[in-house]
Symmetry: C2
Subunit: 414 residues, 2 copies
């Protein structure tokens, strides 16, 4: 009898855990850590826990989710269950963040987990969860503390990406793709991230210098003008949280991003990659914006779910983020479709519906919610990215005086 | 190649899950459920989640613990870590209980998990955790909501009980012992529990009628008088929580129990079974009480840890519970030593250091903390049961006028 080799390289997995703590979080000596993860990601959780304690963590606490328990709810729960969220848990999390606890999320859930479920139940459960999560989410999007998301190659996700391979081979391929995109397949990942952050800084410094009033997108199915918020600031890569710690909130990350003006988006736009949102796939989105609001929506798959999500609140049909990613970015160059926003959004320019990032304003850390709103920042219980970039999209920057200059041509920096 | 059979009978595991929901919790339609469990107990968590939703649960949320993460803390964390507790999580739990969320704990951790660790770190971590847990624990011991503990046959626990068997055989034996003790090895476990609760009620009704002032224990190494609290009430089996739901907080349970007077315990007592407390074994305890306080302590193993635990607070060296279990109880008759208090305390008369149960007073649900204290109830951040019963122990009930009558002879009801 032969034992199959572990398809996930343990050395690279350990490097990913180190990068999560040392680059993603820059966890401080004595700082507590709150982690969330699918149960199947336990091998990475354990590596991260070890590196957190080695870095001097106070207490590391992990809240696991379990796909089987989630599905049992859809299978057996009565109708009223789907309007409930775990408010007590999220208010506990908010308490932890207010006490300077760092936050790390491991993504890797099955992107199709809820695809067979009743869209009404799915959207109501999402909405109830978003409402319950808001107190904790605001402290994250407001960068009160250092936070980070990394991924683990779970089997269902791998099989969706590589349906013709055995589970073992699929997991191995996804693991390698994650390690490459997360820059842990090199000798010195920490140096690689330093260099990458410097490159991203060069991009956002250029964009901040230009101070465009709006961006104009042109391409197949897309003729869209996105006004940028007053006093917006471009960011990307490393980010200083209000607690003074510089973290890399997304691993991987290839984007530079800022805050659009919630009232100044006009035109039509088409998605260029499927969006996987909380276990549901939404494909071939076509949307029309008027006065900043998404007023018309079509999708070949998941249209009903997406429409219901956008009914969450007043801000859900307006933009909270605009991000630029060149088509030649390493994740895009892999040619893989990940069905996972953390990856797909870093292979393509994208926009996000809902909540904006306070830190994407000049002096954002000191601005009140009211000031951010007055400058055009959006507020919502949701924040959902979707991909609108490809090698067929041109983007022009429009100055306040109406003059314009190229930002991207055929999906590449101009 | 042959696949080994699952050593845990899936039909009985499902019955255990049903009993946890229908007898242990009597979960109400629409009630939320908060579960805690070791990760290795996921198969039972999933069965319980299913039965909770089938019974009309609102939202079921499970907080998993992971032995490997706990050990990583002891291996890698700096010294200051051991004074930290997850206060944010427990205050979230307390919020959930205040909103009428039911609570289910699955026990089954490795009883020896922390046996190789620094006793100073172990006791400081326990103390910090107890202090953080207090707001949630008080709502449980006060029976604000329906709660329940059941067990899952984890491998390390099984191997400790059956060291000469393979892991598979050991797990199978422990599973069978759990199913038998939990009364799910019969056709109709719910009827069996109804009958068992009626038998326990007969015992505590008799004891309440007697209204003894104290109990006197005699046997090898034991000459102890335990004064009972003023207005104490004996309980056992089913218990009505303040939310009006009758739950069976422990599965299994064989005990009838009440509240001793925290100032009226005199004499010496010896443990009759090892105590496993948070991953440490404490064996051959010999203790002397004076004025209700444990003033002298010896133990052949774990004496240092136990002493440190008893330094937690003022109430930790005083009794919070006294419980009677006949030596012929089914768990005792199995001849097995479980190294798990939920089992061993139901094989033997026992006492508990620390916090008392408010509901073990006449009218206890309406009494304030101050009234309970004035009647002799103890308060502490800990509640640790240890076993003092055997077939060599006699117990007499002493009336207020000094007259006495036998309660137990050679460990059996007199």
């Amino acid at each position: 009898m032969t034992t199959p080799a572990n398809p996930i390289d343990p050395v690279k997995l350990d490097k990913l855990a180190q990068v999560a703590i040392k680059v993603g979080l820059q966890l401080a000596e004595g700082q507590d850590l709150l982690m969330t993860a699918p149960m199947s990601a336990a091998p990475l959780v354990r590596r991260i826990t070890e590196h957190a304690y080695k870095a001097g963590a106070g207490l590391v606490t992990t809240i696991y989710s379990d796909e089987e328990a989630t599905l049992a709810r859809y299978k057996y729960a009565n109708d009223k269950s789907f309007d409930k969220g775990a408010g007590w848990l999220y208010s506990g999390m908010a308490e932890a963040f207010k006490a300077n606890t760092a936050r790390l999320a491991i993504s890797g859930d099955n992107p199709m987990m809820l695809s067979g479920q009743d869209p009404d139940k799915v959207s109501r459960a999402n909405r109830a969860n978003s409402a319950a999560y808001k107190p904790a989410l605001q402290l994250i999007t407001g960068f009160d503390i250092n936070w980070n998301i990394v991924s683990y190659p779970n089997a269902a996700w791998a099989k969706l990406m590589f349906p013709n391979d055995s589970e073992e081979v699929a997991v191995g391929k996804l693991a390698d793709a994650i390690f490459k995109a997360s820059r842990v397949d090199v000798d010195d990942p920490i140096a690689a991230w330093k260099e990458h952050n410097a490159n991203l800084k060069q991009r956002w410094t250029w964009l901040n210098g230009k101070n465009f009033a709006s961006l104009k997108y042109s391409g197949p199915g897309t003729d869209l003008t996105i006004g940028l918020a007053d006093g917006h600031r471009w960011k990307g890569g490393a980010s200083e949280a209000k607690n003074g710690i510089t973290c890399n909130p997304n691993i991987p990350t290839e984007e530079v991003f800022t805050t659009p003006h919630r009232l100044r988006v006009e035109g039509t736009v088409s998605s260029t990659k499927p969006l996987s949102h909380n276990g549901t796939l939404i494909e071939d989105i076509q949307a029309r914006f008027e006065g900043g609001k998404l007023v018309e929506l079509k999708a070949s798959k998941g249209q009903d779910i997406f429409n219901r999500v956008l009914d969450t609140d007043e801000g859900a049909r307006r933009l909270g983020e605009v991000a630029l990613v060149p088509h030649s970015s390493p994740i895009s160059a892999s040619g893989l479709l990940f069905y996972n926003t953390l990856y797909d959004e870093n292979a393509s320019s994208h926009i996000a519906m809902g909540q904006c990032y306070a830190d994407c304003f000049v002096g954002g850390k000191e601005l009140t919610q009211e000031q951010i709103f007055a400058q055009g920042g959006n507020t919502s219980n949701i924040h959902i990215d979707w991909m609108i970039g490809s090698d067929k999209i041109d983007i022009d920057g429009i100055h306040a005086d109406g003059s314009s200059e190229p930002v991207m041509r055929k999906g590449e920096w101009a």
